[in-house]
Symmetry: D3
């Protein structure tokens, strides 16, 4: 049976501050520049969630994308949309909320929920010119 990868694109927006509390304010400013602004800034994030699996003969789907959408909303979108990554998001506590760390945290929350399909890729766009991707390894 062919294995196909299906992707659902999701959208959310959030505030954050790139800041390492283990460093001094000066070190933070030097490392992170304007991304370290104490009063936060924010982004319209775009998240592509890709799962891979066999195409069902009954449905012609790898996975109903409306179902995948609800899974991702429950696991991550509803917990981060219109929120502050540093202050409001429990699963990001103790982590610098860069796109790299966000995408790894999202993976851990989404991967267990998509069986029998397999989560194969997350792509997170922070701006139109910057994105990160993670494949679980």
């Amino acid at each position: 049976m062919p294995q196909v990868t299906v992707t659902r694109r999701m959208h959310f927006n959030a505030a954050h501050r790139v800041h390492n509390p283990a460093l001094s304010d000066d070190e933070n400013r030097t490392l992170f520049g304007k991304c370290n602004n104490p009063n936060w800034h924010g982004h319209n994030y775009v998240l592509d969630v890709s799962v891979r699996g066999e195409v069902s003969e009954r449905t012609g789907y790898v996975m109903d994308l409306a179902h995948l959408k609800r899974i991702v909303e429950g696991a991550v979108i509803d917990r981060v949309d219109h929120k502050n990554f540093n202050l409001d998001v429990d699963f990001m506590q103790g982590t610098i909320p860069t796109s790299e760390n966000i995408v790894v945290a999202f993976w851990r929350l989404i991967a267990p929920l998509v069986a029998p399909a397999t989560l194969t890729r997350l792509v997170l766009w922070e701006t139109a010119n910057n994105y990160v991707e993670y494949d679980g390894r």
Copy 2:
């Protein structure tokens, strides 16, 4: 010699109905929701066709993309553009016309035609937020 992947993006639009004739009308409505509308609906599809191969010293091309475009038009675009996947497309008969099944059917039609390059990926966008990809496995 370096191996490069080149992609040509193609566009078509079509009507379809996600429907499994082996199931009852009630089961179809439950499984497929508004995508099961008996009078069809449709999409502007975007298809990315990627082939990989050596870069020719004579042309600097893996493959002339104008030639790839004509191959894809002849193999699939002209047979589905402004058509109904359920009623008008012979190679989709007996198959539920989901994006998953469409992309696998496209693969079988395009893959034999691109030698000496190799078809390595098809990506089919059904909407701006949903896409599927297939690598022949």
Copy 3:
């Protein structure tokens, strides 16, 4: 008080056939080409709804865009999304479902509902390369 125009972009998809029943099949084919396919084709439509008005001191809004979204969903989107413009949409009966006629029909349904703001422009994209706009005149 400044007058600002605010726009909400909406998405839907639908099937249609460009066909004038007052003409012969031959005339229809000549006039409309592949858009006249008897078994329909379809599009992902994009609709930009623009309203203009004073900015409220209480809310900073011309109009809450979540409210505008619900108005447009009730007036048009829910009646055309995943539908067939020729067969399923009551307000298009007796009209050729071109983008021009669709956008004028949408105007008549939306314009009465946005007071005290004023509907000033509808833009309807049929494909990435074709769009129509209407200002009520």
Copy 4:
């Protein structure tokens, strides 16, 4: 001499909270929903700045767009990029930082600086589906 309108698209990102301090917390939550989150959220904003004027015979330009870019950076972008509209932006104090109020404030700062061309339109995209425009009236 022909009058042409030239537009420069600019990008910035910022945090904000839609909140009217003259109202109670309950009223704010009811009016603004998740946009009222006390810990802020944010956006990647896109700003289109359009100026109109005669085409210079010497340069073929209405206005050098590199010059227009510097004007807009100095007047608004450098003051809002990676900032918090409620806390960091002096010219937004006393105003609810909705897109409507932001675009009117931007107009007042940019319009005096583009002579002999004339500022004719500002479009501010807050998300891919929401934008506001202002023409100074």
Copy 5:
């Protein structure tokens, strides 16, 4: 009868050099910077052609967009696509090939050809962040 505006988006690419032969090389470099590179540079241009008119009862169209496409191809696209605006394009001789001058020249070539509709707007994108528009005045 309602008046609707319909737009066809067209694509072409070309080389050019922003250079005023009446000025010295130093003045050209100062005025135009890297856009004055003697060996040319180039762009993927996007052209939106908008015509306005009554909606025909016979066709539901203001104007068949396939017909408008052929008109614009014949009048301008075929004469500039994969060409050098300074060297290859007769109607740009004696004019600095800025977007402003290109869009005015395009207008003069297209406007006489779209009757009984009326050309109401040309928008020419030079890059994703720069565009010009002209309405014939």
Copy 6:
């Protein structure tokens, strides 16, 4: 430690002519068509530079994207932006300036500079419908 891939999208524009000087003019015209125009044509190129590595505990970054941007500007963008690939770009001499050859040349210039991260993919868009990608093999 998780390995994440981060991508920075860059933009430049340039002129080129697809031409093999070892062939006759007739052969060049037959092989390359309008892309062989003797007076050049050009494109707005988009380049996606992807590097992979461990996420730093100190910064939350695989690599500071502002730093990656400066590396890519110095290595390639400043040498090709607003230039002619055939005449102005030393590292393309002796090579037909197709996207395939450009992306391989870019790889050789960028790959040595991103340690301790690893360059894993370059994607070069020549138009909105054509792109090439290279992974160093």
